[in-house]
Amino acid sequence: MTAPSSPGVGAPVPAARPARAAGVVELPPLRVRDRAPGEPRRVAYLYLAPAFLFYGLFAFGPLVYTTWLSFFDWDGLTVGEWTGLDNYRKVLSDPDIRASFVHSFELIVFYALLPVLIGLLLASLLAHGRVRGVTFFRAVLFLPQTVATVVVAIAWVWIYAPDGPLNAGLDAIGLGGITRGWIGDFDFALPALGLVGTWVTFGLCLVLFLAGMQKIPTTLYEAARVDGAGRVREFFAVTLPGLRSELAVALTLATITALRTFDLIYVSTAGGPGTATTVPSVLVYQNAFANGRVGLAAAVAVVLTVLIFALAFAITRLVDRDPSR
């Protein structure tokens, strides 16, 4: 946390401004400032240092090193060879790699958009409906968030299996014609895994939105009702604007989860069938560890990182922007 750099924001104006007018009682001389009022003292950097060191060592450093590796043709074991931008050229031109990014965007629909919609719907129901045991439901719906993804993957692989409970259920209600090995099917594998993502993320969205709704003043709802707004109007006029920052947080977190998802896909399909569920993180893994193409893997990772930064930035800009400001 750094103090705001412009004076006067939030903090009260220091009362001890040097008084120059004659006749006023002389205050004891102030220590000479070498910084503007409100500007953080230099010693603050010392407090920041440990965190910064950690960040540099474990987050920023590896990022720089990965970028450096992406300029090499390296098998991970013997001496690498500098190849400049070759790996990036391959990332942009290889149809399989490009397709993997498209798969990621499809996952965003399932990991971010759907859960936000479901979360909003459930939150407005739970907030107004006077449901008994809200805490219980909230805990249950949040539960998927707390389970390790590998466990989630194994459970869903079982659910989606050709002789698994999903197909048994479909059979039971007379839909035997559409049963299949869901995650082995070219058309359904990615949506099937996407829905697992929806199941995992919507609980988080719900809890965020419920919390956000509690801080919306009830007077706003009363005012809306006095003005004759119905439930729907009230939602769009009061609830949604009030949840702007929660929306931004939920969308950012879920989008990042979608883009960097690896464990779920690796455990359930390993990117198959064919390349139907191959996402960039799976390509990074395959190329770095199986195929001995560490440079190419690093290039994919760098492009993925840039994409995540860009999307997170865009979401905060677009959603968490108070139009009245």
Partner: protein, 447 residues
């Protein structure tokens, strides 16, 4: 951030050629070492291979009470991806599994991560125990560029071939007598008959292709009916002029598509949602009349089907010779950083040599060492052994096609899945597979 700014890999000692064992290697007297631990990682974590290795490891510990063996297992598909990393770590296991071919073993040798075993081969007489064709699979030039000749870097426990597992009860019900299946065409006709006999939602052939190699192994048996085994071996060892683009391989791919379209492997792509071991368990549970796959699944089939489990080689095509994918099992290597390489070699000899025979046949496996003789006590074990011996006699082991380049397992695995899903023509599978081979062939030629 050591190495940042430098060329990656540079800071590693060029070749960890600590790798030369002492001129005079010790083959006994390990009691005098005092308490010592040997860490071992196997890449075959299920069925017979796991059970046999556990038993052999216990025996080794009993033989040398001062030695503790830390044995752990990984599943095959993920081990291929971890092996190089684990081997390159600061504290690698003393003994670990690799995989023949350029993806794993070639890289391990090139990076100097494993010990050359020539001295041990002399000391333990491995050159007499194994056929030249078996040892060839573990030989590399010291720079890892030439596969199939040069120094010996590993040994293996068992002969692993692919063949036909049959559920005899199902065959009897459908009126199919395996003794009458003399040619590949007979087998093909039997599949049609079984398709009619079995319920529509039950596959004739139990297949698991999630790991993307099940369909390749199955296809190898079809390929054997149309392509000579030597052509495939030449291709895998990167002989000049070898090619995957030939009429036999194309016909075999078209036949596989035909089988899929006729629903022999079940409806739709369901086989993509389970792996090899899971399919074996399903077959053991009574699904399908056949399972076309590796003999490493024999003990799973036997546990499930008991007396109804049978095994035989795919009936031959016009050549009259048995041909199928098969080789020695995953090679076991000694780490270049092993502190007691002589002890590690003694362990290798114990788990692969004559002393291993009993444990291997007891789990329906075939010892790779020819002097490891033991008679299997059960009919399935005998059939598995006969299948292997027939393939050896006919020169019909094609080895595994994915050995041919570091990326081939992925290339063939994906294209086969896409072909079976009706999304890629067999011609396209051939051109993409051959393109992968040629890219690596050029890389090897550059050095």
């Amino acid at each position: 951030m050591a190495g940042c700014g430098g060329t990656p890999g540079e800071d590693r000692p060029a070749a960890q050629q600590a790798g030369t064992p002492a001129e005079q290697v010790e083959t006994d007297g390990f009691e005098s070492l005092g308490p010592v631990t040997l860490s071992v990682i196997s890449g075959e974590g299920s069925g017979g291979p796991r059970d046999a290795l556990k038993r052999l490891t216990d025996e080794f510990e009993a033989k040398y009470p001062n030695v503790t063996v830390k044995l752990s297992f990984r599943d095959t598909a993920s081990w291929f991806k971890q092996a190089k990393l684990v081997a390159a770590s600061d504290k690698p296991p003393d003994v670990f599994a690799g995989n023949q071919g350029y993806q794993v073993d070639g890289e391990l040798v090139k990076a100097g991560l494993v010990l050359p075993l020539d001295e041990y081969a002399k000391a333990y007489g491995w050159e007499d125990s194994y056929t030249p064709e078996t040892l060839q699979q573990f030989m590399w030039s010291d720079d890892g560029s030439t596969f199939g000749e040069g120094t010996l870097w590993g040994v293996a426990q068992s002969g692993q071939s692919t063949g036909v597992f049959a559920n005899m009860a199902k065959l009897r019900d459908a009126g199919v007598d395996p003794a009458t299946l003399e040619t590949f065409d007979d087998f093909d006709a039997a599949l049609a008959k079984l398709r009619d006999a079995l319920p529509a939602d039950e596959p004739v052939i139990a297949l698991g292709n999630k790991d993307q190699y099940g369909a390749i192994h199955l296809w190898g048996m079809i390929q054997g009916a149309y392509t000579p085994a030597q052509d495939m071996r030449d291709w895998i060892f990167h002989a000049d002029g070898a090619t995957f683009d030939n009429p036999g391989d194309l016909t075999a791919l078209e036949k596989l598509v035909e089988w899929a379209e006729k629903g022999y492997m079940g409806q739709g792509d369901a086989f993509n949602s389970r792996n090899d071991a899971e399919a074996a368990a399903a077959f053991g549970g009574g699904e399908g009349a056949f399972m076309l796959g590796g003999n490493w699944n024999a003990s799973i089939a036997k546990d499930g089907l008991g007396k109804d489990a049978a095994f035989f080689n795919m009936p031959p095509g016009e050549s009259g010779k048995a041909v199928a994918i098969g080789s020695a099992s995953l090679p076991m290597h000694i780490s270049a950083k092993a502190e007691e390489p002589d002890l590690a070699a003694a362990y290798l000899d114990h788990i692969t040599g004559p002393s291993a025979a009993e444990a291997l046949v007891a789990t329906q496996q075939v010892p790779a060492a020819t002097d490891a003789t033991a008679e299997p006590g059960d009919p399935l074990g005998r059939q598995v052994m006969q299948g292997w011996q027939q393939l050896v006699e006919d020169g019909g082991l094609t080895l595994f096609p994915d050995w041919s380049s570091p990326t081939m397992l992925q290339t063939m695995g994906q294209t086969f899945q896409e072909m079976l899903g009706g999304r890629l023509a067999p011609e396209e599978v051939i051109s993409r597979t051959q393109a992968d081979w040629e890219e690596y062939h050029a890389e090897l030629a550059e050095g």
